[in-house]
């Protein structure tokens, strides 16, 4: 069950993570994820499903960033820094103030892939199909936008709409993946497999597919190791992905010498 859920998430984060790497938006993913904590807290506070709170907050923040990003009063990284840590702090405070609810902060921050239920798995698979469908539909236009926004617009691509979709998909992915790797580590599951794939491919499609495969491999190896050594599953998965990255880069460096 954990393996299937982890793999489904890795299949989404492969292509989306590639775009995050290409468009240099990893900090953006981080900020959305951090704000997720506030969403979970609000969910509890309002007696909602925490995942709905999480989804609502990340969506709202994605929209906010989208519109503020078009104004450009502050540089994007400053803006993200404020929102990211501001939302994280407010989330932590809200949780600490709720005496009557017991929230396992550890699993929120770092995930708990072994606690995944069958309903979670169904939910993840449905969302994965949705996300992948949208990614494939927009693929070429997103790619042209990544190459040059001007070129895309000159050729009739509605770049604002596509950008909005991109941000919302990231928010959605974060909302479902949080349960597995936690809000502090989710961005790494998007970026590390994509970065690992980069040195091994020639074309964007190959990178997205290979990133997904590396993600699945990391999940399998990570869960295996975490059971074997009784280590937390989220960090172990990320550590596995990081090790794969290091191995690929070192090997390439040696070969190219």
């Amino acid at each position: 069950m954990s393996l299937a859920a982890g793999s489904a998430v890795a299949l989404m984060t492969g292509p989306l993570g590639s775009f995050i790497v290409w468009r240099r938006m990893s900090y953006f993913g981080d900020s959305l994820a951090h704000s997720g904590l506030l969403g979970v807290a609000l969910g509890f506070l309002l007696n909602l499903n925490p995942q709905i709170g999480l989804g609502a907050i990340t969506f709202a923040l994605a929209l906010l960033l989208f519109f503020m990003g078009r104004k450009k009063h502050l540089s994007t990284d400053t803006l993200l820094g404020i929102l990211s840590h501001g939302a994280l702090s407010f989330g932590l405070i809200t949780i600490s103030l709720m005496d009557d609810v017991r929230i396992d902060l550890n699993s929120l921050l770092f995930g708990d892939i072994l606690s995944v239920q069958l309903t979670d798995l169904f939910q993840i698979i449905v969302i994965m199909a949705l996300v992948l469908g949208i990614v494939i539909f927009f693929w070429n236009r997103w790619l042209l936008m990544t190459v040059s926004e001007d070129l895309a617009r000159a050729e009739g691509v509605n770049t604002h709409l596509l950008q909005l979709f991109f941000l919302l998909l990231i928010a959605l992915t974060i909302a479902v993946a949080m349960k597995l790797v936690g809000i502090l580590l989710i961005t790494s599951m998007m970026i590390i497999p994509a970065a690992t794939a980069r040195r091994l491919v020639q074309n964007p499609e190959q990178m997205a597919v290979l990133a997904a495969a590396i993600g699945v491999l990391s999940v399998f190896a990570g869960i295996f190791v975490s059971v074997l050594l009784d280590t937390p599953s989220g960090p172990t998965t990320v550590a596995t992905a990081t090790s794969l990255f290091a191995i690929v880069y070192l090997t390439r460096a040696l070969i190219e010498k």
Binding site: V21, W22, R23, R24, N140, R141, L143, L144, T146, V147, S148, D150, L151, A152, R153, A154, E155, G156, V157, A195, R198, V201, Q202, N203, P204, Q206, M207
Partner: protein
């Protein structure tokens, strides 16, 4: 009203952003087959004007009339494709719509870089990359090529060759060319019309006459005018220009 020779007519285009006037009532017509060069100092609004013509940006005021047959091929200012994005020349030309291999090869052949077909974009030199982008612009056999600083990042001899290539492509495809350029020396002789832009159209006309225009001299200085005169006499020998200190304007 534009006649059937006019591909694109812009009249009284004005753009301002955050209280700063970028374009002030700029008008221009592009006729089929002509070469127009847009010159002007940095911040003169050249790229903004082109973006308005292409529909990338909206003008605050003014009219834009496009011919029904208008097909634009656009080459933006030198792109920096991120090193993290693996992409080959062939794949780049198939964005956003898949283009067949013979068509891709044809376009690359036109710009003299068919040998780059399967190569990764990051491995290209500045001149090669610009030729690939030019090939991309002519893929759909446009009747108007819009080139924003096409020789950016290209060395001096490469510049001359690239301008010659652009002219040759114009002759072969019979398309009009609208080009933004910093450096006047090489461009001018091959241009039908030069438009000098500095928020407004300072002056426009044939290259021979424009360099004597008082506003032109005020904008670019008398030295430029004299360099141009030298160039016009010896325009088959670009090395001479180099030795005599032909310089690019910023």
């Amino acid at each position: 009203m534009p006649n059937n020779q006019t591909l694109l007519a812009a009249s009284n285009i004005s753009v301002s952003r955050r209280g700063k006037v970028i374009l002030n009532s700029v008008s221009m017509e592009i006729n089929a087959g002509s070469i127009i060069t847009l010159i002007g100092p940095n911040g003169a609004g050249k790229s903004t004007f082109i973006k308005v013509l292409l529909g990338i940006m909206k003008a605050d005021n003014g009219d834009l009339v496009r011919s029904k047959h208008l097909q634009i091929g656009y080459m933006p200012q030198k792109l920096q494709i991120d090193d993290t994005l693996p992409i080959t020349v062939e794949r780049l030309l198939s964005l956003p719509v898949k283009v067949s291999e013979p068509e891709t090869r044809w376009a690359l052949q036109q710009t003299g870089v068919e040998y780059l077909y399967g190569q990764s974009v990051q491995s290209l030199s500045g001149g090669e990359f610009q030729r690939v982008m030019l090939a991309r612009a002519i893929l759909k056999k446009p009747n108007l090529l819009v080139l924003d600083e096409p020789v950016q990042g290209v060395d001096f001899t490469g510049e001359v060759e690239l301008y010659e290539l652009i002219e040759a492509i114009r002759d072969r495809l019979g398309c009009a060319v609208l080009m933004v350029s910093h450096d006047l020396h090489i461009v001018m002789a091959k241009t039908d019309k030069v438009i000098c832009l500095n928020q407004h159209v300072c002056c426009s006309g044939e290259p021979e006459t424009i360099s004597d225009h008082p506003e032109f001299i005020q904008l670019f200085g008398d030295a430029t005018r004299q360099n141009l005169a030298i160039y016009k006499h010896k325009h088959n020998h670009h090395h001479d220009l180099h030795e005599q200190g032909g310089h690019q304007l910023d």
